[in-house]
Amino acid sequence: MQDPETTVQTMVHIENLRKSFGSNEVLKGITLDVAPGEVIAIIGKSGSGKSTLLRCINGLETFDSGALKVDGYPLVHDDAKAMRALRQHVGMIFQSFNLFPHLSVGRNIMLAPTLVKKESPAEAVTRAKKLLDRVGLADKFDAFPDQLSGGQQQRVAIARALAMSPSVLLCDEITSALDPELVGEVLRVVESLADEGMTLLMVTHEMSFARRVSDRVVFMHQGLVHEIGPAAELFSAPSTPELRQFLSSIHD
């Protein structure tokens, strides 16, 4: 297993990434470098490959060719130990939350640190409580996921991912499954993470949020990075007709 580079200029390095599902090429050569602390919003039509790209970064999907390095760790799919080492530095938040229904909120957050990082239960409890407080759910430690609203569950999911102290957080349409009135509480937590300097890659449909919070926006179209640039520029002056059409179709 290669040693991670000691000075990390690039947090996420993607070079010419290609991925096909059967005969359908979903990623046609993605190149992207993400600096530490950068917030990247990935937008585009469904089917443009956004989620697939995100899932490649933590290895939930394998890619066919190209290079991918996260925080100095290359993706070596056959090496389970290497993948586990990588995943301790990358956190993922899912559209459908994926909380563990048989565990309380507190134990959801504690599970990975105790099993993977071998933290003592006492340490894990303290950390879990702190994180719950951070996402505004301090009193929900003993509650179970089915007792919480969607927005609360997603915030627990964020706390669970943060418990592993990742360097990068991947957010895969994390508000798409929420009722409109619950979206705000989740986005507020994400914004505070961005303010603290977390490197974020978000696939999102929340355009005004993306515009406000991200450093750069990536517009994906048919498996390629079609446009990329600072948020203000991209939204106010889209240079390609595809992006213009996409933005006009989103009523935000």
Binding site: M92, F94, S96, A112, V116, R160, M164
Partner: protein, 223 residues
């Protein structure tokens, strides 16, 4: 025509009946524990094992589920000695019961695992849990909860099926009933008492397992 039934002569043999009950419960408990472990392991194989192993486990499951338990038992007790494996009646009974329950448990648990949403396994993987940890901590508990009633029912079925083990002289309840009636010629009464005891055992064991499951095996909440 008056039929005279004499239950007293059976009930005075209660120490013997009690020993039969202990044997039945003991055989069942032992086979249930090992059978469920076998079921978990083989369910894992059927879902994520290598192709050739999947085929072996699948064949074992189909063969056991499509042949009678008594034939499996006779094969273990009478047939295996021809290969040099001599088993006591008790050992043959347990082995046959484990082999039998294991096949059914494999299918039941496999259905439970496949009903657990994939997203939860992905969340576990994303948290850097190993495959084994994802299986034991994220996938298996909700699966067990979902299929617990079916699993308990199957354990009861195996317990009732163990009555056949008396035919190879395992000293369980049906053997005891046979023994009693051979001495006092009260066959009908003897079997009625044994049947009533079996019914009480079935009800109690089911209640016990339904209580123990959420407590000890898969957490108290919806999975």
């Amino acid at each position: 025509m008056r039929i005279e039934l004499d239950f007293a002569s059976i009930l005075t043999q209660w120490p013997l009946l009690l020993s039969g009950v202990f044997w039945t419960l003991g055989l069942t408990a032992f086979s249930a524990v090992i059978g469920v472990i076998v079921g978990v392991a083989f369910a894992w194989v059927r879902i994520s094992g290598p192709g050739w192993l999947k085929w072996i486990v699948g064949s074992y499951v189909e063969f056991i589920r499509n042949t009678p338990f008594i034939v499996q038992l006779f094969f273990c007790f009478f047939g295996l000695p021809m290969l040099g494996i001599r088993l006591s009646p008790e050992a043959a009974s347990v082995i046959a019961m484990v082999i039998n329950l294991g096949a059914y448990a494999t299918e039941i648990i496999r259905a439970g695992i496949q009903a657990t949403p994939r997203g939860q396994a992905e969340a576990g993987v994303s948290l850097a849990l190993s495959r084994y940890q994802v299986f034991m901590h994220v996938v298996l508990p909700p699966a067990l909860r979902k299929v617990w009633p079916a699993l308990v029912s199957q354990i009861i079925i195996v317990m009732l099926g163990s009555a056949v083990c008396g035919q190879i002289s395992t000293p369980e309840l049906s053997f005891v009933a046979n023994l009693i009636q051979s001495r006092n010629f009260r066959a009908f009464e003897s079997y009625i008492v044994a049947t009533a005891i079996y019914l009480m055992l079935a009800i109690s064991v089911r209640a016990l397992l339904n209580w123990a499951g959420p407590r000890y095996f898969f957490g108290g909440r919806r999975g």
